[in-house]
Symmetry: C2
């Protein structure tokens, strides 16, 4: 991570606070430093850091967002299961929020819950702003725009799932966890979960609890106890999306999207692009497919039309 202190004098800079300082929070801080139109005004977390750590981060770390002055967007770098509470808290203060909530089946209900907070306090939430859900969702919409009939397969990995790793680590008795997603084709996946156990944890109880968790219960899941998670950790990931379908009455139209990426780096970058887009939307709650793609990009819209269209 860069240790350079960020000094941006542009008054039009979007003032972003990072909530949480896990993997995503740290990568988000790096990414904001690379933009010209945003500045990180600080990090909000329960525990303060040492003066030395704060110097390395280059931004203040506080426990209450009020200590950071005016904030335009709160980047919720917190586990999915904390998003609803955190987002409603900041939206009610009139601060836009961006999260990478990844529990697909609960996204619509998250949207409904947050909508009154956003509407009443004139704020914007961009939800599920990672890569899946997120940019992959845009790709699925785009493939159906081009060929409305047919099957789309989203094949993840091989790679480390942040959401599943966090979910496994949250199970009692788990000291550290790494959940790998293995593509078996046609949208079917295996989960390989590596765990370090707490000293007195019962292995079979812990394994059963992981397999019963809704993050894992619907997929083939193997849990392996290992000595050290740190030795296995590689944050690379990927996806391969295939759509074979029909445009009009013409069959066999074929579309493929493939990416190989560092997972938290991509997730935090998408969140930052979504933070920018949040400043251009009317009050309300948005998933990525509800936002014009050009709004994610920095700078002048006409320049992007010239360059990209």
């Amino acid at each position: 991570m860069s240790s350079s202190t960020q000094i941006k004098s542009n008054e039009k800079c979007i003032r972003v606070a990072i909530i949480g300082l896990g993997n995503i929070g740290q990568f988000a801080l790096e990414a904001i430093k690379q933009t010209d139109d945003m500045q990180c005004v600080g990090i909000v977390r329960r525990q303060l850091v040492t003066t030395e750590e704060q110097l390395t981060l280059g931004v203040p770390v506080v426990t209450e967002i009020e200590a950071l002055g005016h904030v335009d967007v709160a980047l919720l770098c917190v586990p999915s299961r904390s998003v609803e509470q955190q987002a409603s808290f900041y939206l009610a203060k009139g601060i836009n929020t961006v999260d990478s909530f990844d529990i697909h089946e609960n996204i619509l209900s998250l949207k409904s819950t947050l909508t009154p907070f956003a509407n009443e306090h004139n704020s914007v939430a961009v939800i599920a702003a990672g890569w899946d859900p997120g940019t992959d969702s845009i790709l699925r919409a785009l493939m159906l725009t081009m060929a409305p009939k047919g099957i789309t397969y989203t094949n993840f990995g091989p790679g480390m799932s942040m959401g599943h790793s966090v979910a496994a680590k949250a199970i009692e008795g788990v000291k550290d966890a790494l959940s790998m997603t293995i593509p078996l084709g046609t949208g079917i996946h295996r989960r390989m979960v590596y765990i370090e156990l707490d000293t007195h944890a019962d292995e079979s109880t812990v394994i059963a609890a992981i397999k019963a968790d809704t993050y894992f219960s619907t997929s083939e899941t193997h849990v392996k106890v290992v000595r050290s998670i740190a030795e296995l950790k590689d944050m690379g990931h990927g996806v391969s999306m295939l759509h074979k379908g029909v445009s009009g009455q013409t069959h066999n139209q074929q579309f493929m999207f493939d990416m190989r990426i560092n997972n938290p780096a991509l997730t935090s970058q998408v969140m930052i692009s979504a933070a920018r887009a949040s400043m251009k939307q009317k009050s309300g709650v948005y998933t990525l497919i509800e936002i014009p793609p050009v709004d994610f990009l920095a700078g002048n819209k006409e320049e992007w039309i010239k360059k990209l269209v």
Copy 2:
């Protein structure tokens, strides 16, 4: 093409008129017949067709759009060089327009020219609504949303370019033409132009005129005179887009989109999706990157969020 007559009683159906009956117009008619939320109310062209042809088409063919009753969207299935005049004509009647204008460097100026027509007459134009410019433009925007730094290469083909074939055919002395786009990698292309000559045309004059046309002057272009274009014609096409870039401070993020498609079938399908989206935008002129992707899809937005996000 299906010969079934279209009977849709849904009052909420979007009433679409097809302007022009070339390749795109014919594929558009097929594609509208496959939707549940649109109906083709007729085709507008200079020359009328025989009663037999009209029965095959299943919709009225007229010379003036007023003969079709209320029309929501005019689908401009005309050469790019006629788009400006046609779009301003229909926009001024309060009718939305969709075109697949493909002259990249003139898109921004087309947008400026059409904007007062749309704003003053409360209509919407969706411009450059094909696959490139069009859906590829969305992909380029999306790749930069995920990794703002780095190079994007768009490699077309091998396949038949409709725009370039029409442009070659418009040259004096050319009876019929087929322009193939050959990818040489890193966004460099060769154009292989096959032509049938008019009886008294001078071969070298025609070839020079094609090579001087702005559609061809910036690429390596080879022109071959052949006996029959019909024998060579295959409307398959494709694209391979590559983006290798930086998310935040993390390098080597890799993205690839590849498609193999029937060209007029895809173009007309994108136009129809854009026609639907035009009904959901405020007055004005839009390129595809300015429209929320979910607006291209038929039906309920919440259902799509549930399904795609």
